[in-house]
C-alpha cells in the first residue's frame, strides 16, 4: 500500500508543475501543446547541467533558463509571427524530443544513450502531451 502511495506521489509531482504551466497558458488563451517539449528539454538540460557544474541548484537554473528560451521562441512564433498555436506547439514538442535525442547521442554516444533514453523515457511515458494539454483545460 505504501508503495502505491509513494508511486502516486512520485509520478504525480511533476504533473503538478506542468499542469500549473498549462493552467497559466490556458488562462492567457493559448493552448500550450509545447509543454511536452519543454519538459524533455528541461530534463536533458538538468542532466547536462549536473555533469558540467556538479551542482543540483545550478543544473535546475540552467534547465529553467533553457525552457524559458524555448518558450520565448514559441511566444515569438505565435504572437509576433501569428502562427497557429496548436501546430507551433506540436512543432516545439517535436523539436524538444528530436533535439534532446540528438544531444544524447553526441554527449553519450550510442551505447550510453540508452541509459539517458531510459531517463527521458520515464519522463515521456508518464507525461504524454495529451495529459499536459488536458491538465491545462481544467
Amino acid at each position: 500500500m505504501n508503495d502505491v502511495i509513494i508511486a502516486i506521489l512520485r509520478s504525480g509531482t511533476p504533473l503538478v508543475y506542468v499542469t500549473l504551466a498549462g493552467v497559466i497558458a490556458q488562462r492567457a488563451g493559448v493552448w500550450n501543446l509545447g509543454l511536452e517539449g519543454l519538459m524533455i528539454i528541461g530534463a536533458c538540460a538538468t542532466i547536462l547541467g549536473i555533469m558540467l557544474t556538479q551542482s543540483y541548484a545550478a543544473a535546475i537554473l540552467i534547465a529553467i533558463a533553457m525552457c524559458v528560451i524555448a518558450s520565448v521562441l514559441l511566444w515569438f512564433v505565435i504572437e509576433k509571427l501569428k502562427a497557429n498555436p496548436i501546430i507551433a506547439g506540436l512543432g516545439l514538442t517535436g523539436l524538444g524530443i528530436g533535439g534532446t535525442a540528438l544531444l544524447d547521442i553526441t554527449t553519450f554516444g550510442f551505447i550510453k544513450a540508452n541509459w539517458l533514453a531510459g531517463v527521458n523515457g520515464l519522463v515521456t511515458v508518464s507525461h504524454r502531451p495529451a495529459r499536459a494539454a488536458l491538465a491545462g483545460l481544467g
Binding site: 512564433v77 501546430i87 507551433a88 517535436g94 523539436l95 533535439g99 540528438l102
Partner: protein
C-alpha cells in the same frame, strides 16, 4: 495566379527559415550542419534508388494529406489523421483475417472498403461531437490518436496476434501474397494508380463541385454560408468523413503494400507529417502532391541517415518539427517583402 505565386513563395520562405533553425540546432548539438543537410538531400533524392524510396513514402503521405486538407478547408482542425490511419489499417487487417482464402478480385476491394470505413468511422465521432455539442475537435481528434495507437497495441498483441511470431515486436499474421498490392519496397503501379485517382477525384471535388466551394466558404465564414441556406452540418460531417476515409485508405495501402502486416508501433509520425504537408501546400491538391514528394524524401532520408551516413535519424524529426513551428506564421516583414517583389515584377 499572382496570389498563388505569392502563397508559394511565402511557404518557401518559412521552410527556409525552418532549415536555418535546424542548422543552428545541429551545430549546437555538435554536428557539422552543412554536412548534415547534404546527407539529408543525398538520402532523399541523390543516392541510387532514392527517388523510388521517396515516392514510396510520398504516396501514402499524399493521400493522407489531401484528406487533412479537405477538413482544414472546411474549417475543421482535424489533427487526428494519425488515429484514422491506424484504425483504417486495423479494420483492413480484420477484414483480411475474416476473408482469408477468398478469390483476390473480391477480397482486395473488400479490404480497401473496410479500411476506408474504419478511418471514416474514427473521424465520424469527433465530427458528430463537434457539430452536435460543440466539442473542440482539436482535443477529441488528438486524444483519438492516442486511443488508436493503444488500440493497435491491443489488437496486435490480442485478437490479431500472429501465433507463430517471436521476437520483440508483436504483429498480426502476414497477409497472403495473393492479396499484396506491392512488394516490401512499396512501390507498384496499383499504388501509384490509386494515388492518381484520389488526386484527380479530390481536385474535382474541391475545385469543381458546389460541395468544395461551399466547404471552403464555410471554413472562412460559417455564418455567411448558413445565411445563404447551405447545410453547414452536412458539409462539416462530410469533410470529416472524407478526410478520415482517405487516412484509412493510406493505412490500408501501408498494410496491403510494403508492410503486409500490422505491428505495434508502425509508422509513428505519418499523420503529423500529413498535417504539415497540407499546411505547407496551402491546402491545394496540386500543391499537396509536390510537397508530399519533398516530405517523402525526408522520410526516406530518415532511414538512410543512420545506416549509410552514420548520422542520427532524429535529424529528420527536427526538420519536420522546425517546419511545423514556422509554417503557419504570417510576418508583416515577409508580407511587405512579397508585395515589394510583386510591384517590381
Amino acid at each position: 495566379m499572382r496570389d498563388r505565386a505569392i502563397a508559394i513563395l511565402r511557404s518557401l520562405i518559412f521552410v527556409a527559415f525552418s532549415l536555418i533553425l535546424c542548422a543552428v540546432v545541429f551545430q549546437f548539438a555538435g554536428y557539422n550542419a552543412p554536412q548534415m543537410l547534404t546527407a539529408v538531400v543525398d538520402g532523399a533524392f541523390l543516392r541510387p534508388g532514392a527517388v523510388e524510396q521517396s515516392l514510396r513514402w510520398a504516396l501514402p503521405l499524399f493521400i493522407t494529406a489531401v484528406g487533412v486538407g479537405i477538413s482544414f478547408r472546411a474549417g475543421f482542425f482535424n489533427i487526428g489523421a494519425q488515429g484514422q490511419f491506424y484504425v483504417g489499417a486495423i479494420a483492413a487487417a480484420f477484414a483480411a483475417e475474416a476473408l482469408r482464402g477468398g478469390p483476390a478480385f473480391i477480397v482486395i476491394p473488400l479490404i480497401f472498403l473496410a479500411g476506408m470505413t474504419g478511418g471514416a468511422l474514427w473521424a465520424l465521432w469527433p465530427g458528430l461531437l463537434k457539430l452536435r455539442s460543440g466539442t473542440d475537435e482539436v482535443i477529441t481528434t488528438l486524444m483519438g490518436n492516442f486511443l488508436a495507437g493503444l488500440l493497435l497495441v491491443y489488437v496486435t498483441s490480442g485478437p490479431l496476434k500472429d501465433p507463430s511470431g517471436s521476437g520483440q515486436q508483436v504483429s498480426s499474421r502476414p497477409l497472403d501474397a495473393a492479396y499484396r498490392i506491392s512488394n516490401s519496397l512499396g512501390l507498384s503501379p496499383t499504388i501509384i494508380g490509386i494515388a492518381i485517382v484520389v488526386g484527380i477525384l479530390m481536385w474535382v471535388l474541391v475545385n469543381r463541385t458546389s460541395f468544395g466551394v461551399l466547404a471552403s466558404l464555410a471554413g472562412r465564414n460559417g455564418t455567411m454560408v448558413r445565411w445563404q441556406g447551405a447545410k453547414l452540418w452536412q458539409l462539416g460531417l462530410s469533410s470529416f468523413v472524407i478526410s478520415g476515409a482517405l487516412a484509412g485508405l493510406a493505412g490500408t495501402i501501408e498494410f496491403m503494400g510494403p508492410n503486409g502486416r500490422i505491428a505495434s508501433g508502425f509508422l509513428p509520425t505519418h499523420g503529423f507529417t500529413a498535417i504539415l504537408i497540407a499546411l505547407v501546400a496551402n491546402l491545394s491538391v496540386v500543391g499537396t502532391a509536390a510537397v508530399a514528394i519533398f516530405f517523402g524524401g525526408l522520410a526516406s532520408a530518415a532511414l538512410y541517415l543512420p545506416i549509410m551516413a552514420g548520422l542520427p535519424a532524429a535529424a529528420i524529426d527536427i526538420i519536420n518539427a522546425a517546419i511545423a513551428l514556422f509554417i503557419t506564421a504570417r510576418s508583416n516583414l515577409v508580407e511587405k517583402f512579397l508585395r515589394l517583389g510583386r510591384r517590381s515584377s
